[in-house]
Amino acid sequence: MIGMIAAAVVPTTTWYLVLAAGLFAIGMIGVLVRRNPLIMFMCIELMLNAVNLTFVALATELTDIDGQTAVFFVLVVAAAEVVVGLGIIVSIMRRRQQATADDLAALKG
């Protein structure tokens, strides 16, 4: 019985988009709630992944390969962004251990 229902229900594009919305919301809550700059950075990566999932789901739905190309470029930009961001975090944390995002409100080191 359950197997028959499971075989009949096929996840549509809307399911993927709602899942991506949930992932984006969790990432956003993480950025707002956590104080550790490293964790906040990871949450930004979560939001980027939610957007990537949206792109791929809609590329299949709208039968347009441009969505997958956009994900490729998002991946490249995310890699560059992580490198620069972690460089900044390392240079800040070297001076002040246990720095939180609130301590970094002023830009001078």
Partner: protein
């Protein structure tokens, strides 16, 4: 079967994401993020984006998370922190959760109501099958090196700038060394 794959991958994604937000130890958070990234890769495969699934595993799980772990170990912050510190007052966290749930509700409404616009169709996506196993890769390559070749070239400039900038940022300056 498709439903089973979707439910499992969605659980991986959501559990991993909650782990990133709720774990107090940064190392555990980074490992939870790997779970999320693999779940996303599974969803990519189920949406016939095979090339992007491979790139997702290699670049994200292979490179970015390893970079995160390197930085965590380098800085020596691999211990649990106290999550109960409330630097901005008691009201900020409930507000953040309410705001996040509101964004989720708005996005879900928009997604459900946008279903009618799905009828606009593009040029077609090639799906990998036994006769043509690398159709997806060929089509993405045509798109990147054809339509978007200028953006691809600019990507190389972006990567060079990122590498040089990071080297400048992370280098210890001479004045630091003499004063320390």
């Amino acid at each position: 079967m498709e439903l089973f794959v979707f439910v499992c991958a969605a659980l991986m994604v959501l559990v991993g994401a909650l782990g990133v937000v709720l774990r107090s130890n940064p190392v555990h958070a980074a490992l939870s993020m790997i779970l999320t990234l693999f779940g996303i890769a599974v969803l990519f495969v189920s949406r016939e984006a095979n090339f992007l699934a491979a790139v997702q595993v290699i670049v994200y799980a292979g490179a970015i998370v390893v970079l995160f772990l390197f930085v965590i170990m380098l800085l020596g912050v691999d211990r649990a922190e106290d999550l109960r510190t409330e630097p901005l007052g008691r009201i900020q966290r409930p507000l953040a959760v309410i705001l996040g749930l509101g964004v989720f509700a708005v996005l879900t409404t928009a997604v459900v109501r946008a279903r009618e616009s799905f009828r606009f169709k593009g040029d077609g996506v090639q799906v990998a099958n036994l006769q043509d196993p690398d159709g997806n890769i060929r089509q993405i390559a045509r798109s990147i090196f054809g339509d978007y070749v200028v953006a691809f070239e600019l990507t190389s400039v972006l990567l060079i700038v990122a590498v040089v900038g990071t080297v400048v940022l992370a280098r210890r300056r001479k004045s630091d060394r003499t004063s320390a």
